[in-house]
C-alpha cells in the first residue's frame, strides 16, 4: 500500500538510527545460511559467476577423498595457495605416514593441524560461513561428502599503496594517508598507538556488500556510553551496500537535517590517533580512504594537525586567521548588503561616496548584485570541482577574470561587490574541512536575504537562529559548541581559539568531557 504524504513526512522526521531502514526479500541461499555445509549446493549457487573458481583434487589417504579448493579469482594470493596448500597436499605431504592415515572422518582435523602451514586456518560447519569467507577473499577447502570445511586465509588483491594525503595537506606533520584497505588503515593507527588498550571491534554492514567495519577506541579514555551508542547506531543500519564509509554518516549523525557536519572525516592516521587518545571513537570502513570520528565539536572542524606540530605562538596567529576567514566567509556579503542598504551612517563620508559612485550605474540593489555574483561563484566552484585539473584551472581563470571583469564593464555589478565576493570565496578556503565549508555556503544565502530586507536586525535574527541551532546540536550526545557553550574553561583557554604551548598543558585539553559526554558543562 502506498504511504500517505503525512506518513512519509513522519518517516522523514524520524531519527534514522531509531528504525530499521529496509526489509529485503530473501534469496534461496539466504534461507540456507545456517544449514550444514553442502559443497554441491555452494557450487550450484556460486559457479554461475565467472570469477569464482573451484579446484578439485584427490587425496589418497586410507581412502580416496575428493577435495575442492574454492576461491574468488583476484581476491586471493595464488602463489601463496599454490605453495602452501596445493603443493603440500598434492605433492610434499603424500610421503608422510600420517597423510596415508587420513579418512573422510579425520581429514579436516588432520589438514588443519598438520598439512596446512598458513598462519590463519579455521574449521567451519555452516553454509553462510563458507560463502562469506570465499567472498571476503579467503580460500575455502571443501571435502566432498563432508559437512565441514577449512577457511585458509590467503587474501591478496591489488591495492593502492599508502600515499600522501590529498585533501588534508600538512607542512610539518606525517605524510601518510589512509587507503581503501581496511587492514592497512588499522595498521597505520596501530603503528601510532602501540598499547593493548587500543580496541578494534569488527562488524559487518550491508545486506549484499557485507562490508567490514571496525570501531576503534582506547579503553579507559573513552566513555563506554559513547562506544555503546556507536555500536547501537551501526547495528541499526540496514542497507544493501556500504559503497563508502561516508554513506554511514547520515545514518549515524544526531541531526541529519542540520547544515553542519556532526561527524569528522579524515584521511590522516595522526588525526585519528590523536582523536582516539582524546577519548573519541573512530569508525573505519573497508573500501574507504577516510575514517569517521565521533563525537566531534565545532572547534575541531577549525583545527588542523599542523596546529599541534607548529610552535604555539605561530598557531595563535594561524588559527585566528582561520576563524576570521570563517567569519568573513559567512558574513562579508551580508554585512556589505546591510551597510549599503540600511546603515550608510556607519561609513565615513568619503567611503560612502566612493561606494555610491561605483554603484551608480548598476541596475540591481546590493542584494541583487550579491546574489548574482554568489550564484555565479557557486556555479564556477561546482563546475570546476570535478573537471580534470588543467581544465578546472581554466574555469577558475575564466570565471574570476573574464566573467567578473565583463560583469563590471557591463555595469551589471559594482567593482566593490566583486571584491567582496572574491574575499568571501577566498576566506571560505581557510576552513580546513570541506563538509563545514559547504555548510557555511548553505547558510550564507539566507543571511544575505535577511540582511537585504531588515539590515543588521535581520542579520542578527539569522545569526541568532544559527547560534541557537548550533547550541542545540549534539554529536553522539556531546554538545556541538563545547567547550564554548557549555563552557569547559580549560579546554576553551588552552585549545579552542588559541593553543597553549605543549609544556603548559598539564593534561590533554579535551574539547569534550569524555567521562561525562552528555554533561551540561563545568559543574
Amino acid at each position: 500500500m502506498r504511504k500517505s504524504f503525512f506518513s512519509m513526512m513522519k518517516d522523514l522526521t524520524k531519527r534514522p538510527y531509531t528504525k530499521e531502514i529496509r526489509n529485503y526479500p530473501k534469496t534461496p541461499i539466504d534461507k540456507e545460511w545456517e544449514n550444514p555445509i553442502s559443497y554441491a549446493r555452494i557450487e550450484e549457487e556460486l559457479s554461475q559467476s565467472s570469477d569464482i573458481v573451484f579446484r578439485k583434487f584427490l587425496i589418497r589417504g586410507k581412502e580416496e577423498i575428493t577435495c575442492i579448493l574454492g576461491v574468488v579469482d583476484g581476491l586471493v594470493d595464488k602463489n601463496l595457495l599454490d605453495a602452501y596448500v596445493l603443493r603440500i597436499v598434492m605433492v610434499d605431504a603424500t610421503v608422510d605416514p600420517a597423510f596415508k592415515e587420513m579418512t573422510l572422518k579425520n581429514i579436516i582435523n588432520s589438514l588443519m593441524d598438520r598439512f596446512t602451514p598458513a598462519n590463519e586456518v579455521k574449521k567451519i560447519t555452516r553454509m553462510g560461513e563458507a560463502i562469506d569467507a570465499m567472498l571476503a577473499g579467503d580460500a575455502v577447502l571443501f571435502v566432498e561428502q563432508s559437512q565441514e570445511a577449512l577457511v585458509i586465509s590467503a587474501r591478496g588483491w591489488q591495492t593502492r599503496g599508502v600515499n600522501t594525503p590529498q585533501r588534508e595537506a600538512s607542512i610539518r606533520g606525517p605524510q601518510e594517508a589512509f587507503n581503501e584497505t581496511l587492514r592497512t588503515n588499522t595498521s597505520l593507527i596501530r603503528r601510532i598507538i602501540k598499547h593493548p588498550s587500543l580496541r578494534l571491534i569488527s562488524m559487518k554492514i550491508g545486506a549484499l556488500s557485507n562490508t567490514d567495519v571496525v570501531i576503534a577506541y582506547v579503553e579507559n579514555r573513552v566513555s563506554p556510553d559513547v562506544v555503546a551508542e556507536v555500536k547501537r547506531r551501526l547495528n541499526r543500519v540496514k542497507i544493501d551496500g556500504v559503497i563508502a564509509g561516508d554513506i554511514l554518516e547520515e545514518f549515524l549523525e544526531d541531526h541529519p537535517y542540520s547544515p553542519f557536519p556532526q561527524i569528522l572525516h579524515t584521511e590522516r592516521p595522526d588525526i585519528v590517533a590523536s582523536s582516539l587518545l582524546e577519548g573519541r571513537v573512530a569508525i573505519i570502513v573497508d573500501g574507504t580512504p577516510s575514517v569517521l570520528i565521533v563525537p566531534v565539536t565545532l572547534p575541531m572542524f577549525m583545527q588542523v594537525n599542523d596546529d599541534y606540530y607548529e610552535r604555539a605562538m605561530i598557531v595563535i596567529l594561524v588559527r585566528s586567521i582561520r576563524y576570521w576567514g570563517a567569519a568573513i566567509a559567512v558574513l562579508a556579503p551580508s554585512l556589505y548588503i546591510a551597510v549599503t542598504t540600511f546603515h550608510q551612517e556607519l561609513l565615513p563620508v568619503t567611503l560612502a561616496l566612493s561606494i555610491a559612485g561605483s554603484r551608480e550605474a548598476t541596475p540591481f540593489s546590493a542584494l541583487g548584485e550579491a546574489m548574482l555574483m554568489l550564484i555565479a561563484l557557486e556555479v564556477l566552484q561546482e563546475g570546476g570541482l570535478r573537471l580534470p585539473k588543467p581544465i578546472g584551472q581554466t574555469i577558475g581563470i575564466v570565471g574570476a577574470l573574464i566573467i567578473g571583469d565583463a560583469a563590471v564593464k557591463a555595469s551589471l555589478v559594482s567593482p566593490i561587490m566583486v571584491i567582496v565576493i572574491g574575499l568571501t570565496a577566498v576566506s571560505g578556503y581557510t576552513i580546513p574541512y570541506y563538509s563545514l565549508a559547504i555548510g557555511i555556503r548553505l547558510i550564507r544565502l539566507p543571511l544575505m536575504i535577511l540582511a537585504g530586507t531588515m539590515g543588521f536586525f535581520g542579520l542578527g535574527i539569522g545569526l541568532y537562529l544559527i547560534l541557537i541551532h548550533l547550541l542545540g546540536l549534539r554529536s553522539f550526545g556531546t554538545p556541538f559548541l563545547s567547550p564554548i557553550a557549555p563552557l569547559r574553561i580549560r579546554a576553551f583557554l588552552q585549545d579552542t581559539l588559541v593553543r597553549a604551548p605543549w609544556w603548559a598543558l598539564k593534561e590533554d585539553p579535551d574539547l569534550i568531557d569524555t567521562k561525562h559526554p552528555h554533561s551540561g558543562g563545568r559543574q
Binding site: H343, M454, I461, G520, G521
Partner: protein, 364 residues
Amino acid sequence: MQRLSTHQFTMLTAGVLLGTTFMVSGSIVTQAAGRDGWMAVMPAFLMCVPFTWMIFSLVPKYPNQDLVKISEKVLGKWLGKALGLSFSLIMIYFGGLFASQGVDMYNRTVLPLIPHYVLILGVSLITFYLYLSGIEVLARFAEVIFPLVCMALLFIAIFIIPRFERGELFPILQNGITPVLSAALNISPWPFEYVLFLAGLLPFLPAKPKDLKIIKVNFFKALALIIVLSTIVVLVQIMTFGPFETARLTYGLLVLGNMVEISRTIAGIEAVFTLFWTGALTLKAAAFFFAGIWGLQSVFGFKGKKSAIIVGIIFVLIPLLGGKGVNVVVEMAYIDRYIILPFAVLWILLVWGVDLWKHRQKSL
C-alpha cells in the same frame, strides 16, 4: 529532565538580571536623582537578595519543584493554583510588552522604516526557537550572549571616554539621600523580574546539595557583576550628556553608541551594537516566555508543544495589538511597579512564611 550546571545558572542569572535594563536605566534614575542617579543601582538590585534567599531556602525541602507547586503544597491547592496562574499571566504579558519595547527601540533609532510587526515577528521567532530548544539551550545561549553584551557595553564606555565631563558628577549628594532612594525604588522591580523567573527555574537547577551552596555564591557574583555594569552604564551617560540630557534621552545608550568613533574608518556604530542588544532582548523575552509556560504547566499539568503554541500566539499578539512607542515604556513601568514588585514580594513572603510556620508547628 534537563539540568543546568552552576556556571550556566550564573550566566543565565546575569543575562536575565541585565536584560536590556542598560538601555533605559540612565534615563529613569537620573529623572529621580539627577547626577546622583548612579548610586541608585546598587540598593535597587540588592533589594531582591532576601527574596532569592527565601526561594533558595525552600529548594532542599521541595526538590525538583517550582514555586507554583511549592505554593500548592504550602498554601493549599486552590490558592497555589491561583498564584501560579497569576504568575504565568504576568510573565507572558510582561514578556510580550518587553519584546514590544525592544522593537520600539529599533524603530526609533536604527530601523525607522521597517514595519513594527516584522520586527516583532523576528524577535518572537528567536524566542520560540529558544523555547523549543529547551532550557539547556537557553542557558548556553546566555553563556555566549552575556559576555558579548558585557564586552559591547565596556567597548562603548571605553571609546566614549574622550567625551567625559567629570564635572557633571559633582557635587555629590547635593539634594541628600532621598532622591537616590526614590530612584532606587523606581528601578527596584527589575531584579524582581528575575526573582519571578527563578521561581520557575528551580526544578532545572543542579540537584546535588553541594551545588546549592555554589549556586547561592554564584548568584551573588552575578548580582555584583550586574550592579557594577549598570552603574558604569549610568555613570558614563551622566558624564557624557550631563544629568538633564540623560534624563531626557529614553535610550541614551543608543545615542552613546552613535557617538563612538574609531579613527576615521568607522563612525556611529550604533547599528552594529543592534546585533548584541537583540541577543540581550531575546534572552530576557525568552526567559519570561519559559517562566509563563512553566507556570501554566504546573497549574494545569500541560505537557507537549501544543499548549506552548497557543501561549506563543498570545505572546505575539500582545506586542502586535498593544501600544507602541513611549506608551509601552510607561505601561511596563506601571506593571513593574504595581504588579511585579508587590506580587513577587507577597508571593514569596507568603510561601516562605507559611512554610516556616508549618515546620515550626510540626517541630513543637
